[in-house]
């Protein structure tokens, strides 16, 4: 490889301009903004109005709690389901593979708005889910007006939307495990279930951790689902997430400084939880 400095820069510069303008500069700018009181005409340095307020704002604490609750319940359930799905879809004796893959992978291409509208209608008080519950002899549930039920709807919707996405990633990991490992185990009389726990899972660990990290970062930014399905985080503030809280502060109240502090909190939490996952992954080796 030769040194062709000028050519290299010519190829790189157009992208770099966009990258610096719309990504690197805003990252720095938002950190600075998080110390400014943006509620006055002249934005002045006053972290007590942003970081100070964050510590005592019950609405922020509520959004943080809701986000972590969704995280703790939804991510493990979804990753476990995605792992099982990937293993089953990878089975050589599976018939109609294309059809099954379509069923679980199709949600990946469905947009947030379309699927949010759908779930809002499905779980409407007079919607088809309740009609089916009643037809099955159960009672209907006020899905969107009961705080816990509304949280459940968000978790169900997220799982529907993202389980297949994670299964695709895990499936790619599965297909990189060499066949002969399983052949040897089968010859030694190891059952399929034990093969799953003692061969597949340990070998999949890096991929699964990757999925957890991606999901954590996604959950920290949860916005469209509570915005659209549960009508701006309702009932009350029962499903308000950090993402929705940031939207309200930034673009409802136009309090950019405070919203930037929230943005940096989301970032710090996402990084901290991701690092924790990576560390736990290493620890157990």
């Amino acid at each position: 490889m030769r040194l062709r400095t000028r050519t290299a820069y010519a190829f790189l510069t157009p992208y770099l301009l966009v990258f610096l303008t719309f990504w690197i500069w805003p990252i720095a700018n938002s950190f600075w903004l998080s110390f400014l009181n943006t509620r006055s005409a002249n934005w002045t340095f006053n972290p007590r109005m942003t970081w100070g307020r964050l510590l005592v704002d019950p609405a922020f604490a509520n959004a943080l709690w809701n986000t972590l609750l969704i995280l703790v319940i939804q991510v493990p359930v979804m990753i476990a389901l995605a792992t099982v799905l990937a293993v089953l879809l990878n089975s050589p004796i599976l018939k109609a593979r294309g059809l099954f893959r379509f069923a679980f992978f199709a949600p990946v291409v469905v947009g947030e708005v379309a699927y949010a509208a759908m779930f809002r209608l499905l779980f409407n008080e007079f919607g088809i889910i309740n009609k089916m519950l009643v037809a099955a002899g159960l009672t209907s549930i006020p899905w969107l007006s009961d705080p816990n039920a509304a949280m459940a709807v968000i978790i169900i919707a997220l799982t529907w939307r993202w389980a297949g996405y994670n299964a695709i990633i895990i499936l790619a990991g599965l297909q990189s495990i060499p066949e002969d490992v399983y052949e040897a185990a089968t010859l030694d009389g190891v059952s399929k279930v034990r093969q799953f726990f003692y061969i597949t899972l340990p070998l999949l660990k890096p991929v699964i951790i990757l999925c957890v990290v991606i999901s954590v970062i996604g959950t920290m930014q949860l916005f469209s689902e509570p915005f659209l399905i549960t009508n701006r985080g309702g009932p009350g503030q029962a499903t308000e997430t950090l993402g929705l809280f940031l939207y309200r502060q930034g673009f409802g109240a136009f309090n950019f400084g405070y919203a930037s502090a929230v943005a940096y909190t989301i970032t710090a939490l996402a990084i901290a939880i991701s690092l924790l996952n990576l560390w736990l992954g290493k620890e157990r080796e």
Binding site: A8, Y15, F19, I27, L210, L246, F251, A263
Partner: protein, 278 residues
């Protein structure tokens, strides 16, 4: 021998018995989206459980069109997704080529910055981006605002860099010996060789742009400049609005992507796997 094959058959039955109901549950929302888009309003909220489509799709779509200019919004969405995909592929494959093929001062810093900020949540930039584009540039409610700021996405840079790195560089060197200019080597040798990668990247970028919601919601709030997801989202939660109409919009946003997905499943899967490893 016989016992082994019957054990195999039992496992096969158990496998399908587990997957089949789950697949039905997974398909149910999409199927009902389609069914609702064809039902009259009193059918969606009737006491009966209706699981099969009716014939009111066009009527429902007309309701949607009168609730919000959905055709105009869809036109904007198509324009934006197409322009974004072409521009992003162009910019990121050039950058990827540069990082894969040359040594130059600052290369390490550029790569480290891209990798180091890759997983930062989008929320960290949304406020400054909004202030810059809406207040400083005064470019809210424009196509520029929808297309250009999201071009920062660095997924393509890493994906294309890796693609170009794995190519036999003797090929490029041979062209250089012949005196072929660098941009011609990129355009006529590198890029054609990278066609599968470009296809996977294009599909993922188009999908991202087509479904993008938060940024278009913030920056283009004027009804005449809304994208299709934003226009549709603006109806959700209103009281006097046709749910059948909303469902036709949801179908029109979703169906083309499902067709693309079925036709190009391999590229989708490649793109998603690459996106995960980004």
């Amino acid at each position: 021998m016989r016992s082994k094959s019957s054990a195999e058959r039992r496992r096969g039955i158990a496998l399908h018995a587990a997957l089949f109901p789950l697949a039905l549950i997974w398909l149910f929302p999409l199927w009902m989206m389609f069914v609702f888009s064809t039902l009259p309003e009193n059918g969606i909220f009737s006491r009966d459980i209706i699981l099969t489509p009716s014939d009111q799709f066009v009527e429902n779509f007309n309701l949607l069109e009168s609730d919000t200019g959905f055709i105009r919004a869809t036109t904007i969405s198509i324009l934006v997704a197409a322009a974004y995909t072409v521009l992003s592929v162009a910019l990121t494959s050039m950058a990827g080529w540069s990082l894969a093929c040359y040594r130059f001062a600052g290369k390490g810093v550029v790569l480290a910055t891209i990798l180091g900020t890759l997983t930062l949540p989008y929320f960290v930039v949304v406020i400054p981006q909004f202030i810059m584009v809406a207040r400083d540039f005064g470019l809210h409610n424009t196509l520029f605002a929808l297309i250009v700021p999201p071009l920062f996405n660095s997924l393509g840079v890493l994906f294309m860099r890796q693609t170009f790195s794995m190519m036999p560089h003797e090929l490029f060197d041979a062209a250089r010996v012949e005196g072929v200019k660098e941009w011609r080597i990129f355009l006529f040798i590198g890029l054609p060789l990278a066609r599968p990668a470009v296809a996977a990247l294009s599909i993922i970028l188009f999908l991202h742009s087509w479904n993008n919601y938060l940024w278009p919601l913030l920056i283009n709030s004027k009804p005449a400049m809304m994208t299709a997801p934003v226009a549709l989202g603006s109806l959700i939660g209103l009281t006097k609005v046709s749910w059948g109409g909303i469902m036709t919009g949801a179908v029109m946003l979703t169906a083309p992507m499902l067709v693309l997905f079925v036709a190009l499943q391999r590229h989708f899967v490649a793109g998603i796997s690459a996106g995960a490893v980004k």
